[in-house]
């Protein structure tokens, strides 16, 4: 019984040693180079389990072949119209030819340095063909950012692939900046623009207000004048109607009308302060004196 156990132990031990020494795995997104005494004997780009000779005969070198992101450095570049602009790009890249990458570079840091240099050279040569307005302009027709990015990308990608086995997935502008001397003049320009707006707004505000109040005054005067006109039309109508009423009566009997109107006028002209002097032999006091 114990012999069987011993055999089992030995078997498990052997399996573990064999698994550790003679196999290795390649994970998805990684590639592997097998170097035997320093010489590359095999590469594996597909994930899975593989055999190898144990250390120190075979050495397994793994590289991350996933998409990598990097920012390029800042390059001050002269445009076609002799204006300095600072350009930063970002690059998404991956190892495409693991063998070339391994022999020419062998490390990510060095790869990024080389890519940065390639991009800087490409930037300088491409931007020399374009004016600043290809990068910065309110006229969309003039903007050629995509064209510029593509040209830089193509130049960088060609060299990166043929020299280092690196595939540039994309290269685009991340930042545009101006040298310190230029930025001061941009600020001055910005301030001048703003001040122009301030005086423009104030002038416009005052002009608009003057127009509105002026129109309102004119309109109000017109409304009042119309009102006045209407009122005097009504007054005229009133006089006409009153005249007609009296006229009809006068036509009926002018003597009675005049008599009555005179009496009414008399009555209207008298108040509490009036003193009336009358003769006793005249109406109505003639009743007392019996003169009539």
């Amino acid at each position: 019984m114990s012999k069987l156990y011993k055999a089992l132990f030995v078997l498990i031990f052997v399996i573990i040693v064999a698994a550790a020494g003679f196999t290795f795995t390649v994970k998805e997104g990684y590639s592997v180079i097998i170097s035997r005494f320093g010489k590359i004997v095999n590469t594996h780009n597909d994930a899975g389990l593989y055999f190898k000779l144990p250390f120190p005969i075979d050495k397994v070198i793994t590289y991350d072949t996933r998409n990598q992101y990097m920012d390029s450095g800042y390059n001050e570049t002269l445009t076609n119209d002799k204006i300095n602009i600072i350009l930063q790009t970002y690059i998404v890249w991956r190892i495409a030819d693991i063998q070339k990458f391994h022999t020419s570079i062998g490390s990510f840091n060095v790869a990024q340095r080389h890519l940065n240099d390639l991009a800087a050279t490409a930037k300088n040569s491409v931007l020399g063909n374009y004016k600043l307005s290809s990068l910065v302009s309110t006229n969309i027709e003039e903007i050629k950012i995509n064209e510029i990015c593509q040209a830089i990308e193509e130049k960088t990608a060609q060299s990166a692939l043929s020299n280092y086995g690196i595939e540039v997935q994309t290269l685009k502008i991340k930042r545009l900046a101006l040298p310190e001397a230029n930025i001061k003049s941009v600020f001055n320009q910005m301030i001048a623009d703003r001040q122009k707006y301030v005086s423009q707004y104030i002038a416009e505000g005052e002009r608009d207000a003057a127009i509105i109040t002026g129109e309102a005054d004119a309109r109000a005067a017109e409304i009042y004048a119309n009102g006045k006109l209407e009122a005097s039309q009504i007054d005229a109508e009133t006089e006409r109607m009153v005249a007609r009423i009296y006229g009809e009566a006068y036509d009926r009997n002018s003597r009675l009308f005049v008599f009555l109107k005179r009496l009414m006028a008399l009555e209207n002209s008298v108040n509490a302060d009036t003193t009336i002097i009358m003769r006793a032999n005249e109406s109505p006091f003639d009743v007392i004196t019996g003169s009539n």
């Binding site: 795995t25 994970k27 998805e28 899975g48 389990l49 996933r66 998409n67 970002y90 910065v136 309110t138 006229n139 950012i145 997935q169 994309t170 685009k172 502008i173 930042r175 545009l176 900046a177 310190e180 941009v186 600020f187 910005m190 301030i191 703003r194 104030i202 416009e204 505000g205 005052e206 207000a209 509105i212 129109e215 309102a216 309109r219 109000a220 409304i223 119309n226 009102g227 209407e230 009504i234 007054d235 109508e237 009153v242 009423i245 009296y246 003597r255 009675l256 009496l263 009414m264 008399l266 009555e267 108040n271 302060d273 009036t274 003193t275 009358m278 003769r279 006793a280 109406s283 109505p284």
Partner: protein, 319 residues
Amino acid sequence: MKNRVFIVFTQIMEYIIKYFKLTVCFAAVLILLSGVYRVESSQVAVVLRFGKLLGNTSEKQIKKPGLHFALPFFIDRVIKIPVHTVQEIEVTTHYKPQGSVVSSDIDRNGYVITGDKNVILIKAKIKYQINDPVRYMLFTNDAAKTVDGIISGELTCITSHSDVDSILTSGRAQLSSDVMQNSQNIIDGLKLGVLISGVELTEITAPGETIRYFEEVRNASIYKATGYQRAQEYASSRILGAEAAANVLKQTAISVQAEKLTKARGEMAEFYGLYDQYSRNPQIIMSGTFRQRVGAVVKKAGKSIVIPAGVEAPTFLLP
């Protein structure tokens, strides 16, 4: 003492040998159970068998939430990916806190140049989700950093042909939607496995050196708006006042008309009342009316003096 330790050790070994089968079985069960895993509701999982992605189709590759079984840990490796969790990053490439000076050290400042050659600072908040877990997990090294770079780049490219006033005001929403759309196109081209669900421009401001002047413009524009408002208020009250005054004139004329007509009609009512009588006997009506009226006049007057017949009228000295 040493002896005692030895005795305990041999006893343990004896137990292990005695229960060897049981120990082996227990270890085997533990190893088997190491393959059981649970995928939470906000996640999916993929399994790497000896490093290779398990399954040929994406349906088989992606394990949905629930309990799953994989081979023991040294064969299968389970990677859980939070696909339903909204991830958030803040892009501050073009932003330095308000009031800061744009320094000569390009690495320490951040801004965009607008199409009309102004400099402004923009901060953005990006929300995204993983829409392709396999591409996201296995083929991209640092998706968050890549998204940050792409968004920064698109902010640069789009603002470089927009004018500063539109970015600061009405063009803000358009800028954010353009950045989102262009960035998503680049992300799709790179197959990052990421879907941007929102680009929020949390801060857009002028640099510290010029911010005072932008404030002044804002104040001037408020001045313009309030001046306009005040003028409108003046105009409406002025017109309403004029309408009211005109109406008063008209109403006065109407009421005067009514008054005069009433008076005239009243007077003439008396005329017509007398008229019938008068046509029969004019003398009586006239003298009767005369007396009645004069009586009323005398009554109304404060003072009346009657001079006897035949007496010469006295001379009155007016005060």
